[in-house]
C-alpha cells in the first residue's frame, strides 16, 4: 500500500509520483473547540480507504474539511498536488443520509440527474447525455425499476444507493462517502461494497467514513484510525491492531466489547 505520513520525504515513497490525496497538518476547529488536530497523511494509489474512529472523533469533519464544507483552521489538503478549487470536478461526495429531507418532492431519477447536472455550467439543464448517464448509474446501483418513485418511498439501503448513484453520475476520480453503510441492510451493504470495489478496480480512490469495526477489516484495503488526531494509518490489517484500537477508543467503555469481538475475529491476521 502506497501510504505514508506526508512529512516523510518524497524519496521514501514507493512510487515517487504525486499522491492522489494528501492532508498536510490539517487542523479544524468549530469556534474555539478543536475537532481535528494535525492530521498528516497521504494516499498515493487508488484503494478503498476507511476512516475509522469513535463518535465525535472528527471523521465526518475530515471529509467536510477536505471538500471545503467547513473552514480549515490550519494545514492544507491537496489532490494530485493541486488545491481543492482546481479539482472539484474530479471529486464526488456522498453525505450522510440523514442530512436531507427525504420527503422532498423529487424522484429517484431526479436525484441522480442532479449528480450529472452538477457538472454542467450555470443555468444549463440536463440533456440527453446527462439522462443516459443517470440511467446508467441507476442501473449500476440496481434501482432502474424505481427510477420514477419519490425518494421517501425507498428503504434505507435503497436511499443510500440513490446517493451513491448521484455521486457516480459526477464521473469523478475520488469519492468521499460519509457512513455509506449506516442504517443499510446487509444486502444493500454488499451491493454498495461491490460498486465501491469496482471503482477502486477502475483506478478511482474511495474514501469512506466507517464506524463498524466488524466489517472494516473486510471492506477496506487501507484505513486511518482517528480520534481527533491521526492514531494510525496503513493497510487495514496492520492498522486494526488491539493496541491501536485501544488507543483510538481509549476511555470509551461502551466500545470495549466491540473491540474485544473485533480482536477475537482476528482482524490482525492479514
Amino acid at each position: 500500500m502506497n501510504l505514508r505520513p506526508a512529512t516523510e520525504s518524497p524519496a521514501s515513497s514507493s512510487t515517487g509520483s504525486i499522491p492522489l490525496l494528501e492532508w498536510h497538518d490539517l487542523t479544524v476547529a468549530y469556534g474555539r473547540r478543536p475537532v481535528l488536530w494535525n492530521v498528516d497523511l497521504e494516499i498515493a494509489s487508488p484503494c478503498l480507504f476507511g476512516i475509522i474512529g469513535p463518535n465525535g472523533a472528527g471523521k465526518s469533519t475530515l471529509l467536510k474539511a477536505s471538500l471545503g464544507l467547513v473552514p480549515v483552521t490550519g494545514g492544507s489538503v491537496r489532490f494530485w498536488g493541486e488545491p481543492l478549487s482546481r479539482v472539484r470536478r474530479r471529486l464526488a461526495y456522498v453525505p450522510q443520509r440523514e442530512t436531507v429531507d427525504w420527503d422532498f418532492p423529487v424522484s429517484v431519477m431526479d436525484v441522480v440527474l442532479m449528480g450529472a447536472a452538477s457538472q454542467l455550467g450555470w443555468f444549463r439543464r440536463a440533456g440527453r447525455r446527462e439522462r443516459e448517464l443517470a440511467g446508467d448509474c441507476l442501473d449500476r446501483v440496481g434501482l432502474t425499476d424505481l427510477a420514477g418513485r419519490q425518494i421517501g418511498r425507498l428503504s434505507g439501503g435503497q436511499q443510500q444507493r440513490v446517493f451513491l448513484a448521484r455521486a457516480l453520475a459526477r464521473e469523478a476520480d475520488i469519492y468521499f462517502l460519509d457512513e455509506p453503510m449506516a442504517g443499510v441492510d446487509a444486502g444493500s451493504q454488499e451491493q454498495i461494497f461491490a460498486i465501491l470495489a469496482g471503482l477502486r478496480d477502475a483506478g478511482k480512490l474511495v474514501v469512506a467514513v466507517h464506524h463498524d469495526l466488524q466489517t472494516a477489516a473486510r471492506w477496506f484495503d487501507a484505513a486511518a484510525l482517528i480520534d481527533m488526531r491521526l492514531v494510525a494509518a496503513g493497510p487495514t490489517a496492520e492498522v486494526l491492531t488491539p493496541e491501536n484500537l485501544e488507543q483510538t477508543y481509549a476511555g470509551r467503555r461502551g466500545i470495549l466489547d466491540e473491540l474485544g469481538r473485533a480482536v477475537a475475529r482476528g482482524v490482525r491476521t492479514p
Binding site: L69, R88, A92, P95, D101, M114, Q119, R153, F176
Partner: protein
C-alpha cells in the same frame, strides 16, 4: 375560473386590472414560496415581511412621496436588511435560529408600527391610510400600481425558471451542491432575496402581517397533490392566482374588508381541502391505506432498512 364570475358582477376596468395584478402576485408568491419552503426558509420570509413596514414608513418620510413604487422600494430595503441581519446573527452569535428570527420579526414590526402610528398621529402628509399595509387593501390600487406588481411578479417567476436547476440542487442537498463547487450560500441568498421581493409586492394584497401566508400556504397545499417539484411549483402558483383573484373580487364587493385576511383564508381553504382529500397523502387516503393496504400501494413511511 373566477374570470367569468368577475365579468358577471360587472366590475369596473380598474378592478379587473387590479385583480390581474394581484393574481400575478399570488402566482409568483406560490412559485417562489415553493422553493423557499422546500429549503426550510419559510420563517425568514416572515421576518422580512414584518420588517417591510419600517421601510414603507421610512420611504414616505425620506421622499415625501406616496407612490406605491416608492413605498414598496422602501419596504424592500427594510426586508433585505432584516434578512441580512438574520444572516449576521447566525454567523456571529450563538443565538438559536428560531429565536433570532422571532426577535428580528417582532422588533422590526414594533418599530414599523411605532413609526406609522406616530406619522398618522402627527398628520405627516401622505401618511393617512398607511396602516392599510398591515392587512392589505387592494381597493385603493390603481391600474398602474397593479401593472407594477404584475411585472415584478413575472420577473420573479422568470428568475425561478432560469435558476431552477441550481435552486433545486441547493434546496435538496446544500452540502452536495457545495462539494460540487456550487456557491450554495450565494444561491440561498438569491432565493431569500426573491422571497423578500415577493413579500414586498404582496403587501398591497395581504399586508405585512399576513403576506407570509401567500408564500407558505400554496406550496404546502400543492405538496399534497404531487411528488415532483415542477408540478408542485405550478400547482402552488395556480392556488396563489385563484386565491388572489378571489380575494380582490370579494373585497371589492365588501370594501370595508381588508384584502389580506380574505386571500389568506381562501388559500387556507385550499390547504384544508388538500390535507384531507389529496390522493395518497391526504388524511382520507392514509386512513384507507391503514385499514386495508392494497398490495400495489407504495408505503407511506420509509423504512430504516430493507
Amino acid at each position: 375560473m373566477m374570470l367569468p364570475a368577475i365579468l358577471a358582477f360587472g366590475l369596473p376596468y380598474n378592478t379587473l386590472v387590479v385583480a390581474a395584478g394581484v393574481a400575478a402576485v399570488g402566482g409568483a408568491a406560490g412559485v417562489v414560496g415553493g422553493l423557499s419552503v422546500l429549503r426550510g426558509r419559510a420563517l425568514s420570509g416572515d421576518a422580512a415581511a414584518h420588517a417591510t413596514l419600517v421601510g414603507v414608513a421610512g420611504a414616505l418620510l425620506a421622499t415625501g412621496q406616496r407612490s406605491l413604487a416608492v413605498l414598496l422600494a422602501g419596504g424592500l430595503v427594510a426586508a433585505v436588511a432584516a434578512v441580512g441581519l438574520l444572516v449576521l446573527i447566525r454567523r456571529f452569535t450563538r443565538t438559536r435560529d428560531d429565536a433570532a428570527t422571532a426577535t428580528v420579526l417582532s422588533v422590526s414590526f414594533g418599530l414599523g408600527i411605532v413609526l406609522i402610528s406616530g406619522m398618522v398621529a402627527r398628520g405627516v402628509p401622505g401618511s393617512a391610510g398607511l396602516e392599510r399595509f398591515l392587512l392589505g387593501h387592494t381597493a385603493a390600487l390603481t391600474a398602474s400600481d397593479a401593472l407594477l406588481l404584475g411585472l415584478v411578479s413575472a420577473a420573479a417567476i422568470a428568475c425561478v425558471a432560469i435558476g431552477l436547476k441550481e435552486a433545486t440542487m441547493v434546496a435538496f442537498d446544500p452540502a452536495f451542491a457545495a462539494a460540487a463547487g456550487w456557491p450554495a450560500a450565494a444561491i440561498d441568498m438569491v432565493l431569500v432575496a426573491l422571497v423578500a421581493v415577493m413579500v414586498v409586492v404582496g403587501l398591497p394584497a395581504a399586508g405585512a402581517v399576513l403576506v407570509t401566508a401567500l408564500v407558505v400556504i400554496p406550496p404546502v397545499a400543492a405538496r399534497q397533490w404531487t411528488d415532483r417539484i415542477v408540478p408542485l411549483l405550478a400547482i402552488a402558483g395556480v392556488i396563489g392566482v385563484v386565491s388572489g383573484l378571489a380575494g380582490v373580487v370579494i373585497s371589492s364587493l365588501a370594501p370595508r374588508l381588508p384584502t389580506g385576511p380574505v386571500v389568506v383564508l381562501l388559500a387556507a381553504g385550499w390547504l384544508a381541502v388538500s390535507l384531507v382529500v389529496a390522493p395518497s397523502r391526504g388524511l382520507i387516503a392514509r386512513w384507507r391505506a391503514r385499514r386495508g393496504p392494497r398490495p400495489d400501494a407504495p408505503s407511506l413511511v420509509s423504512g430504516r432498512d430493507g
